[in-house]
Symmetry: D2
Subunit: 363 residues, 4 copies
């Protein structure tokens, strides 16, 4: 079944393998009347560019997109928006050596089991390369969110054992611009960068947690029962490669709290209903309260490491074999860093979809 489509009304379909000619996305359902340029998208794409950040992979991807349809005089027309991003710096030969060995932590085994065929070069559809299309589409969704004054702030909450201290959202927003690894605290960033460098030297990797906060959501967004705001966001985030968990508000901690200290009391703030605390993270019954929506996503360590591992060779005679990635190649030691703009894009796509959906809830 097709599994490359996301969203109901504001929907995207992505395509392309990491080592093909190009990757792309078709946005279907974007309302007419939105101003949009290629520059809007390229700006977002540049955030996930690995060459830009010392701490991440050395593959060079300039990632300049082309919008092939859906615009007339820089305005969306209601027609599908086709965005294409050429693949550059593709070195498929690098993968010849691992052609017949299952790579630990990678999807070649499961794809082979599912489809009976697998494009071993660079991960195919399972590659994080695919997420560039999510970021491109997210840039369009953000243009819609802007009309509603909705703002998304996404940052690294932790990598390895290094965790962000408690900081205010306003301070986070300010400091985020100065960080090359989406860490909104100078001191923590330094520790993180040191950790990353040492992991690179060891040929090892680590995981991380991303925080995402959505402000100015109108109350009433999200649909009851199976289309709850959390259900849709959870679906979105767990579709990102390497993600292994999500929580909202106090999340897993809330399982250890009591109703008397967890429940967010309603208050009146200039005549508007707000809650005093925001332990629920901005929703009740799966619908936005108007308080900031607050979620965290956990990412596993990068699977490609240069340390010795064990695996299975799937030549005609299957056998167990030692396995290590070539240490001269550089891989991102922390996949969570590049996932920051992806988490933000997926949030934007979910919210754009729900903004449209919500127009149909009342007569």
């Amino acid at each position: 079944m097709g599994s490359n489509r996301f969203g109901s009304l504001f929907s995207i379909t992505t395509w392309g393998e990491s080592h093909g000619k190009a990757i792309g996305v078709v946005i279907d359902g974007c309302p007419a009347g939105l101003t949009l340029t290629e520059e809007d998208i390229n700006q977002e794409l540049s955030k996930r560019r690995p060459g830009q950040i010392t701490a991440t992979s050395s593959r060079k991807e300039t990632d300049e997109c082309q919008i092939l349809s859906g615009l007339f005089e820089n305005t969306t027309t209601g027609a599908p928006i086709s965005i294409i991003i050429p693949n550059r710096d593709v070195r498929s030969k690098d993968y010849e050596q691992v052609k017949k060995v299952l790579r630990p932590g990678h999807a070649n085994f499961t794809y082979l089991e599912k489809y009976g065929i697998y494009d071993y070069r660079g991960g195919g559809r399972a590659s994080a390369r695919e997420t560039a299309c999510r970021v491109a589409a997210g840039a369009v969704a953000k243009k819609l969110l802007k009309l509603y004054n909705i703002e998304i702030t996404t940052y690294l909450h932790s990598i390895d054992q290094i965790e962000l201290p408690s900081i205010s959202l306003s301070s986070a927003k300010e400091q985020l611009h100065h960080s090359s690894i989406f860490c909104p605290c100078k001191e923590t960033e330094l520790k993180m960068v040191t950790k990353i460098k040492s992991l690179q030297e060891e040929g090892d990797s680590t995981g991380g947690i991303i925080s995402c906060i959505i402000e100015n959501l109108p109350p009433g967004l999200g649909d009851p029962v199976y289309e709850k705001l959390e259900a849709k966001l959870a679906n979105a985030m767990l579709s990102i490669p390497a993600s292994k968990g999500i929580e909202f508000g106090k999340g897993f901690e809330s399982a250890k709290m009591n109703g008397s200290n967890y429940n967010d009391h309603f208050i009146l703030d200039k005549g508007e209903v707000k809650t005093k605390t925001n332990n629920a993270g901005g929703t009740l019954g799966g619908i936005s309260t108007g308080m900031p929506l607050d979620l965290k996503v956990a990412f596993k360590p990068t699977s490609s490491i240069c340390k010795q591992q064990y695996s299975v060779s799937i030549e005609e005679n299957r056998k167990e074999v030692p396995f290590a990635f070539d240490s001269t190649k550089r891989h991102d030691p922390v996949v969570a860093i590049r996932a920051v703009p992806v988490v933000e894009a997926m949030s934007a796509l979910v919210i754009a979809d729900l903004l449209l959906t919500n127009k149909t809830s009342k007569i």
Copy 2:
């Protein structure tokens, strides 16, 4: 937009308010040829019956279902299966007092904002009553899973600060049958029951974490990119009332690990590819590896407590008011307990859907 449907090929549509005449579910897409009786469903429904377990709410729901369509001589025909469950013991008057006050932790505020109208009696669609329909549908899905020998084990991992010690899955499966609160460890169960009783006396509540393990999944289940096994399960679980987080395998802990100790090495086990460890929790690239799928869901504390809280009255002149539920009423102090069969049902529904989907992946 309709938000009461779940699943693509094996799909369900649920309906009914907690204080209406009945609730129900229509299963559309169940393959023909499955043996099914009302008893199959009633047996699953009895697991979430509050009257049965001392530790949970005192509302009496015998919950006997009627199958109104889709069967011929106790066999599914491919036609939609309509299951109806009458509502009994409905005391709507209990809610008259809270008609005009926003209940902390409840959805009346957000429903009102969304729809401009709200059935204040017992939570309407936001009530946990709706989950009976998920359990009924899950019972049908389980009949399909049985043909594939797939087995789901679901239990309480923790409530409040009380956590299950590390136990083997086989021991958990055995002990689970003896527990009235789905706790597969006698000693822990005793601590939990003591905690629950003390919370009931205080009029307070707490949260909990549920563990769910799915064995014998064929490798290759789940679809890449937006229909990943984790993405679909996350969607399913976060649609359950009161759920606030989900994680797979090592989950949030994996964010603190290194690739060298996280990656699951491939091994050969009687000629079959397995992994030595199962930190990923049974998936790679969003597709099942054949190892047990392993997830945890966090639930917030029950919102209805008898302790004094603060809220807002939405009479013509909005004002802040003190608020407490009537202490003579009994509410579940730990909503997570009754959520155990619901988590299991949602797992079954996701897997049933993917088993059908998977038939179409290869020529």
Copy 3:
């Protein structure tokens, strides 16, 4: 795959066999704020009641529905609306004799091939009984259409060789109320009733064509490419049992016309853009022009006839056998008559869906 759902935003799921306990429909996505009573639905249901019209089948169906969910104080809440219609006057024994013989024109052969199991009593899901649920749901859709002042007029255009003369829409609307067979012309009705009676005596049947005109559609309804207004209506109408064709405006005749006499010229009517003629039947590019939408649906003759036919017995040893329905039973000799309210209901459902959809086309 589930095939019992219709519509995207305003969607219905129907269930139930002709000889089961009940049939029903769940409407998911009906906006909140619509006034609705059981009487609204029963009124529409009475239109397809066979007992009422001398010319149609003698099976007695009082068809009084129950609304089990989705309303609060006679107003829709945004929750799914579950409507149930009990089956009465079910005489399953009548079908014992035809248990093992493929009925010409009926679906038992194809259902058996598809599902390997078939509920032979009265056609199961293939029975026209299922259409009562469409009419019930259509009654709800019509309540939404009324807010937009949209009006649907549906009538018999022809049966057998007897065709309606050219009449004005206003005259049709007036006379329609007086006809028991939905024929808006007294003289033609008399001819039709005579024909029907003679067919009943012969034990034969005939087909018919239904006309449906939708007035006051706002221009801009319907979506380009695959969701064209005609595409959605064609889908809706060809899903009605016994329908074999559909045409819009001049339809099949337009294939014989020239552009110079077919094209509808644009004119200004009190400052509004209209077209001088309406050969296209109210759409351009699959989107409504604001002119009346005009379609016709062709229905085949009723399959159940009492004349001698030939068929195949599917006992263990398949063999060709003569076949005739019991002449003491009465069947509708013209299925098209009872299809009139069904065509109207399906139109209403399509338009309701598109009205919601259309709210999302512009920023």
Copy 4:
């Protein structure tokens, strides 16, 4: 709402305007293991190339596609297949003159009403140019159909008053290859070509009817109620630009027949159940019987004609104006001719989708 997607399991999303840089299609859900080359697609695309047939439009479109994803060593991998077709010979200036005048029979009025913005150059998404993507996707669907030995034959049944005489399917299949206008009868073709030339001289146009016959469908294809084979095909065909009607088997004629001469009697043919006649056109209860599926689609006359017409100018002051297309431009006088491969492609897409769907109907 997105309206550029077609199909459930084997699904396509098309994009691109007639006067943009390119058009394209993404196929999502094509099973892995299908052999596929660009040549397979180009061969089908060449059938709708206007330059090739004297009788049709003079715009030159070489239409060579590029497959950008979804293949590995010329085999489908289960990943989305992205096909792109560059737009050549685009002369947007031709449309400057008609920028502010509603073109009779065209969609600029309805698009403007719907979206508030319209790409007036060449029809945008409403252009028949979009159908090239359907043909490209249909070529892939046909590769799947070939595995099942399913064969589609599509031809011109009539244009204007000129109708094909009754011919056998085998003769039609043979002669079709020799015709440049998809007319499977030499004599009729000559009359049609004469008619087309005279229409071109007059600057007028005409409509036509297309016949499509699908052989070797396995019995059991198509789903009951809302996903009937006819419902899906009707949806597909009425989404083709300029189509105004569809009928199956005897179609509209069946409305004038009696059950006693319409019903197809079941017979045994080498032990297999067949029907003696095929008035129903290959379905019963919306499911294939195994007899040839037989449908006809009516197309209106080409809207762009050079004769004088009347219309409305939408400059600031709306006014009625005379209107005629520039007679030095050549337009297809019979849009039905180029629609032949499009009807065939849409049939193939529907059947491919149902073949996948059908894998899930039984346990």
